[in-house]
């Protein structure tokens, strides 16, 4: 079965490695994931004022394109796209009047019938593939690598769109276990990394990154795993910059879960785009002997 994929702009620019590793995994699993046609930016953040229907237009237009292509679900890789598309999808299902209004604005598109399911890639791997299946395919177990899962916000909140428990999520932990890594827990795993403040309030985000990661380091973590391109930038790049403020602090590598899966499945590291990180993610994997098997 062909699976429809919605990339969003960040996956096409600063998070190409997330996309590339995800596609490599899907190929290995024997699934055909195809980029949907005619997508546009979803607007990243969901409309939070009740009268602001305008900002639901972009997400809805994308959902209509999926529906018109005959697909029942659309897979996203970016946490923020996932959240935004799903919130709009919910809103139009809960408020048919709003959907009617929004449909009026669609010139080229058909009316939305509400048949599309928005699915995060991580959720797809858990529910459609199964972590136990991944586990059986592992060639290079991440043995002895201590990793802290970091969830951030958009996979967990608001509750209506969450892919896991909002306070005690386990999806990344379960995945890491399947890949053979050692999981380090950290109460900061569900706290916001500072998000878009990374543009105008860098120090604030450096501080967030330091607080989140340092706690993990103190508990013995060698690395962090996460899913959102903005979280990656904030924890990796701003975290690295925080070394200048906190003298004894040493930034650990930050991985996308897709990169760790690709490595564990023995796929060519080329697919992981490790060059695009502030802290070289390959050193730890070499040190722990994951790569050399």
């Amino acid at each position: 079965m062909k699976l429809s994929y919605y990339p969003g702009c960040t996956l096409k620019t600063s998070a190409k490695n997330l996309e590339k590793s995800a596609f490599a995994i899907m190929e290995k699993l024997g699934h055909e994931m195809v980029e949907m046609e005619d997508w546009t930016c979803c607007g990243v953040v969901s409309s939070l004022t009740d009268d602001d229907l305008m900002h639901h237009l972009a997400p809805l237009r994308n959902l209509i394109h999926v529906e018109d292509a005959g697909d029942e679900q659309v897979i996203t890789l970016c946490d923020m796209c996932y959240n935004t598309l799903k919130q709009t999808n919910l809103r139009v299902k809960e408020k048919p009047d709003d959907l009617e209004t929004l449909n009026l604005f669609m010139d080229r598109e058909n009316d939305y019938k509400g048949t599309v399911k928005v699915v995060h890639f991580l959720e797809f791997l858990r529910d459609e593939v199964g972590f136990d299946v991944l586990k059986k395919m592992v060639k290079n177990p991440l043995k002895g690598v201590k990793i802290m899962p970091y969830y951030g916000c958009m996979l967990l909140r608001p509750r209506e769109v969450a892919i896991d428990d909002a306070e005690e999520p386990t999806i990344l932990k379960d995945l890491l276990n399947a890949l053979g890594a050692e999981v380090i827990d950290n109460p900061f795993k569900i706290e916001c990394c500072g998000s878009y403040h990374t543009i105008q309030q860098k120090e604030l985000v450096m501080n967030r990154a330091y607080r989140i990661t340092n706690f993990a380091i103190e508990r013995g973590s060698d690395a962090i795993v996460l899913s959102c391109p903005l979280c990656r930038f904030n924890l990796d790049v701003r975290g690295k910059e925080a070394e200048k403020i906190y003298k004894s602090y040493k930034q650990v590598p930050v991985y996308y879960y897709t990169q760790l899966i690709a490595v564990a499945l023995g796929l060519d590291p080329e697919y992981c785009g490790f060059d695009d990180h502030a802290v070289d993610p390959t050193l730890l994997l070499k040190k722990k002997g994951v790569f050399e098997k």
Partner: protein
């Protein structure tokens, strides 16, 4: 208790009627602010609390008391819509939406918080795209 708030919004110019702030906020976000019993759960879990001049529960009290200087608090711009407070409020009040309503009251009067010319070329080339779209959505009307 009066706090000095940093903002630069001329509250008079917003032309909000006396006693209207809570109505305006409730209309924008659909939340019932009077349901808040000031337990402080929202503030306790907010990741930006240390940098805020008003805590989220204070923001709610200010709105109810029609203290329009809340529109000049740092807090409403620091809030990054992480939904933690909304998730945890025992009264099921969506504070995330209340913060957005306050920002919108200002932005809809064509007062922007972010000056695009301040963003450098280097920042544009290195920071992920979704950060910019979020920032513009949150800080520009």
């Amino acid at each position: 208790m009066t706090k000095k708030l940093e903002g630069n919004v001329d509250i008079e110019a917003l032309k909000l009627k006396k006693g209207d702030l809570v109505k305006e906020v409730e209309e924008l976000c659909g939340e019932n602010l009077f349901g808040c019993y000031q337990c402080g759960t929202c503030s306790a879990g907010c990741p930006f609390i240390e940098d805020m001049d008003l805590s989220p529960d204070e923001v709610i009290r200010y709105i109810i008391l029609d203290r329009k200087e809340v529109l000049n608090s740092k807090t409403i711009w620091l809030c990054a819509s992480c939904f933690t407070c909304a998730e945890r409020c025992p009264r099921d009040i969506n504070i995330t939406k209340i913060m957005e309503a306050l920002r919108q009251i200002i932005l809809r009067k064509k007062i922007d918080r972010t000056d695009l010319t301040e963003i450098t070329k280097d920042e544009k080339e290195t920071i992920p795209q979704l950060a910019f779209v979020s920032l513009f959505r949150k800080n520009i009307g």
